[in-house]
Symmetry: C2
Subunit: 241 residues, 2 copies
DNA sequence: GCATATTTGTCCGTATGTATA
DNA sequence: CTATACATACGGACAAATATG
């Protein structure tokens, strides 16, 4: 035992659709990224080159290029001569992510303030998407909408580099989310906050939006850290699934 | 003509030193990164897989892995079926970089303020390194020290993810620096600013440090944008070197 | 601690498709 | 339009490191 390798998750993989101009490595990276983000491949498991190359029907060379891309996104961890593993977030990483996310979001609000307003269409859309998904009790989609909300908030800065950093941060956070059992109602408490912050931004009440965001971030970080530390207590005897 | 390929720069390459635990791809990436940062490979030139693989005595598979890493760092631009090119910065990219850098630095100062102080040893070291390099008129080292200064400033946040983003931003900025002819005295005007900001941080005068940084950033961005736009006027007839 | 099996690291050869002269 | 050069992608091979019994 002790060697947890991703085998089961590659059931429905009949090869990736090769359509337009994306290279094979990028297509592989996209497939693996979504599997990881959706929690179908859990943190800590090793990704076997041979097995995945076979199930995706690609060469090991292309697969290794994809691994490089995902490792750079911090979704995979490359250990020399041992293989690649789905990253596991520790408390320090969670703190760093929340700190950086808050920084970028507050800065984006400042940019909007300086510009005398902002286009809040996408922000509003993400909020609504979260609400409707919550009604339908599709919690994974709620999580996706939540990520889109933060993405849109930081997007007010109008800086593509900020956007890229944010999308990495949010993808990374998913790693921690899926470790928690009751993902069902993890995001629910924050839906009203999203609504509130969106309204404040729309109304140009920047300081209040910033304050709301700060308390929001602090609360979310604490909750996630608590959930993580409580998991450490459990011995978790490497239960199969 | 019109096809500028890197050939000449790989003169002194007798293969890369394979020492410790770094993979070949990472070693290749390190070599290419430093060549690009130091301006030995100019923006826009294509990096031939065959030529570089031969001169570095590595396989094209490993080289392609290294290309993926550098493309993700935005130092290379991957154009499908055309190859990889050293990235060229346009005005929009420069503006984004300066905006994000300023955001991270101001946030770091805020963190230091909240912590009631900060360890400014590395910051002071980078400032001194810049001064001594300026005295010796080694301008490339002055640029390196300047990058280290900003790295140390953002490092006050104590966030490794911020550090990583910053190092990417500073590496990217080098691409623009090397396009300018008189790199000799580009950084010199900012040495007093570095000293001043360092002192303000050391003395805990956070607001003044932030203000100084803002004006610093604005000035540097304008100067670089001016230099870039003036270059666009010149036809630059693809002079050999 | 040792022998073996597995897996990664790296290279080579080659066929195919794409862009450019 | 053809020809050439190149990137793309694959599969096989072997060495080196690691994991297993």
């Amino acid at each position: 035992m002790s060697d947890v390798v991703a085998e089961r998750w590659l059931d429905g993989m009949t090869g990736l659709q090769r359509e337009d101009g994306e290279s094979v490595a990028e297509q592989i990276a996209s497939v693996l990224r979504s599997r990881i983000i959706q929690g179908q491949i859990q943190p800590g498991v090793r990704l076997s080159e041979e097995a995945i190359a076979a199930s995706l029907d690609v060469s090991r060379n292309s697969l290794r290029e994809a691994f490089r891309l995902l490792a750079h996104d911090r979704l995979l961890k490359h250990e020399k001569n041992r293989g690649v593993f789905v990253r596991e977030l520790d408390a320090a990483a969670v703190r760093e992510i929340y700190q950086l996310r808050l920084t970028l979001e507050l800065s984006a609000i400042d940019t909007a303030r300086a510009a005398g307003g902002a286009d809040t269409a996408v922000l509003r859309d993400s909020v609504n998407a979260g609400l409707t998904s919550a009604v339908k009790e599709e919690w994974v989609d709620v999580g996706t909408a939540n990520a889109a909300f933060h993405q849109a908030l930081a997007g007010l800065a109008g800086n593509s580099r900020v956007d890229e950093v944010m999308s990495q941060l949010m993808a990374e956070l998913r790693l921690a989310f899926h470790v928690m059992q009751p993902i069902k109602d993890f995001f629910s408490p924050y839906l009203p906050d999203n609504v509130r912050i969106c309204e404040l931004v729309e109304q140009g009440r920047w300081d209040e939006a910033g304050d709301a965001l700060r308390s929001y971030s602090e609360r979310a970080e604490s909750q996630l850290l608590d959930a993580l530390s409580s998991l450490d207590d459990v011995p978790l005897t490497a239960s199969g699934t």
